[in-house]
């Protein structure tokens, strides 16, 4: 499965409004075409993802950032990569996070 195919699946997960995938150096590998300010979003995903990976080591599963006036953000470690997700309003963070993690787990299973 190509990266483009993987990310097209992520976009279809319930509650996902946008996504960005970064490599271990913070370089943007892919993001949805209509994402506003991907540079700002990528900096946050990379900084927080790296920092939380340092705290939680291999046990870090995901983080959610709740916002007062904008859509919430989820960050997932994916091997040496980081996946940032912009979540739709009206859906609980953990529900979308669980769906994304289930998809990533299936993907990891397919690769091994």
């Amino acid at each position: 499965m190509s990266i483009a195919e993987v990310l097209s699946h992520v976009k279809r997960i319930e509650g996902v409004d946008g996504y960005i995938l970064l490599d271990g150096q913070g370089k943007v590998i892919a993001c949805n075409d209509d994402m506003k300010a991907p540079e700002t979003f990528s900096k946050m995903v990379y900084a927080c993802g790296r920092s939380l990976s340092s705290v939680g080591k291999k046990y870090f599963k995901y983080a959610s950032f709740s916002r007062a006036h904008n859509q919430d953000i989820l960050i997932f470690p994916v091997g040496n990569y980081y996946l940032g997700v912009v979540k739709q309003a009206g859906i609980r963070n953990f529900k979308t996070a669980r769906a994304v993690r289930e998809f990533l787990n299936v993907l990891a299973g397919k690769r091994t």
Binding site: A47, S51, L52, G56, A63, F65, S66, R67, N93, F94
Partner: protein, 159 residues
Amino acid sequence: MILFCEDCGEKNDLDPAAFAGGKAVFRCSVCDYPNAYSISSYEKECPSHKLTDFLDAIQPSSGIIGAFFYHEEQGVIEQKMPQLLTRNDIDTLGSGLARSYAEGQSSCRDLTKMAVVISDKYFSVFKLSTHLYVIVIAAGPGLPDKILELISILEKEGM
């Protein structure tokens, strides 16, 4: 009043009356280090009884594993965490979570809460003031309304 030694980080329980001038001067009861630092802003920001009241109030809630207050300059200032964790463990955890929150906030000014799942534990991080955070660890997602109300009160008081 509890103050931490700048050298070894150990708690020292001291009489607040001795700090009338806003400066704490004391020898650490553990390592004998001669501490001397300003406490006026610290004490104003963190009246310890409110923090312990909060910890006492939330601990009986089902699914709550522990909680602590982390100050960016002072480290862990109050905590009720599982005993298997050392003060250094909790300090390291608080430091990493506070740094991540600050990084998130630098991009998202309207950040209200960060939740991190490590292993199967849910760490909810709230920023109460410029340097002070409260971190609540639970076995599942979401916190009881009672705890959210108490955190909201702390936030409004600008702790």
